[in-house]
Symmetry: C2
Subunit: 230 residues, 2 copies
Amino acid sequence: MARLPVYLRALHSLQDRGTATVSSEELAAAAGVNSAKLRKDLSHLGSYGTRGVGYEVQYLVYQISRELGLTQDWVVAIIGVGNLGRALAGYGGFASRGFRVAGLLDADARVVGAHISGLTVEHIDELETIIKDHGVSIAVIATPAEAAQPVCDRVVAAGVTSVLNFAPVVLSVPEGVDVRKVDLSIELQILAFHEQRKAGGPMGDLAPEYGPFKGDQPPGTAQYIEAVDA
Amino acid sequence: MARLPVYLRALHSLQDRGTATVSSEELAAAAGVNSAKLRKDLSHLGSYGTRGVGYEVQYLVYQISRELGLTQDWVVAIIGVGNLGRALAGYGGFASRGFRVAGLLDADARVVGAHISGLTVEHIDELETIIKDHGVSIAVIATPAEAAQPVCDRVVAAGVTSVLNFAPVVLSVPEGVDVRKVDLSIELQILAFHEQRKAGGPMGDLAPEYGPFKGDQPPGTAQYIEAVDA
DNA sequence: GGTTGTGAAACACTTCACAGCC
DNA sequence: GGCTGTGAAGTGTTTCACAACC
C-alpha cells in the first residue's frame, strides 16, 4: 500500500516528540488522510491497535517498516551526477531509512573522481561492476533524457529490477522490472490546471464535464525529493 | 485529468519526429496507458479525433495545452537554493512550457546574490515583494523540512494558491490552496516494498491479503524532476 | 466512554465491446 | 476496413456506520 510510507513518516515524527500511543484520528490528521481509510489500511497488516486506546507508536513503526521491507538494507546506485544527482546523494533520509548509496556514476570525465557526500563519482563504464559487486537492487536515473533508456537497459541487464526515473521519458523495461518516475513538469502542469480553474480562467466554462478536483493527490503519488540548502 | 501532461509529452515527441496524425493505440503505447482509457480521457475534452483516421497531433497538442492552462504563462518562485533548488532552476522544460521562474530565494546569506541559470538569488525577506511584483502564482518549496511550513504560510499570506512541496512534511494550508508534494524517500520505499515481494522476502507469505501490485503508478502520480548533468 | 476493525454502501476508475462514422 | 466515442460491465477504492472490545 502506497500510503504506508506516509504513515511511517508521521509515526517517526510522533516518536521523536515522545508520543507513545496514537489514535487513528490523530495519526490520520498528521498524515493528511481520513481516519477510516487509515484504519482500513492498518487492518491489512494485522490487528495492531487496541480498541478504546489506539495504536502503540513504536510497535506500529516496526510493523510498517517490516511490511515495507525496511528492516533490511537496500543498496542504491545513482546514475547522473548533475545538480539533481548531488541533491539525491546528499539526502540524509537516505542512509537513515534502510537505503545505502553504493555508487555515484556519471559519463562526464569532469565529474568522475569528484567527492560528493562522502562518495567518489565513478565512470559509467563501471556500472555493471558496481551493481554486481555491491548487490545494487535499486537504480536511480538522474541523467539527461537521451541517456535514460540506454542506462536503464544496462542496469536491467546487470540484474537491477527496480528503477526510479527522473528523466522525462517513459522507460520501457521487461516484465518483472518496476519503474517509478518523478516528473516536475507534470506536477507543475497539474497545479497550473487547478490554478486556471480557480481563476475562472479562459477555459473555466468550456469543459464543464470535468468537475472541480475534489480529492487531494491520488494514492501512491510521488512525494518529496529532497530539501537541501546550500 | 492528471494524465493529460503525459499525453502532451508524448505528443510533443511525436511532433518533433514530424508525425502528423496518431491513433489512440499508438499514442497510448507512447504514454504507457491503455488505449480505451486514452480515448475516454480525450473524449472529455471534446471530439478531436477522426474515426478511421486518428488524432491530428498538432491540434491535439493545442487542445490539451489549452485545457491545462499552458496557453498562458505561469510565474513561479523557487524558495530554497540548495542542490535541488539549483536543479529546478536549471530545468530547461520550465521556461519552454509556460512556466517562468521569477525568483530564486534563500535564507542563507552565503548564497544570496549568487547567479544561477541567469537569475540572481534573493534574500527570503524579499519573498512578499517578489510575489506581488511579479504576480507569482506557484511557489516551489525546496527548503529544509523545518523551514517549509513557515515559508508556506508566508507565500499563502502573500496570495499564492498553488504550492509544490519538496520538503518532507505535510503542509497545512487554508481551503482553496493546492499543495502537491514530491517525495523521494516515499518512492524508494514503494520500490523496496515491490522488490521485497519479488524476492519472496521475509514477509512474502505473511500478508497474503495484499495481492501483487498489478498496475503501474496511479494516475496523477508525480513524475520526473529534472535531469541535469554537471 | 472511547476507539478499533469491518461489513455494506457509495463512489470512482478502468476495461470491454461495439455502434457509429470516416 | 479502420478507428473513435461511449454505454455498460467490471474492478478497485473510499466512506459510512456500527458491533466488538478495552
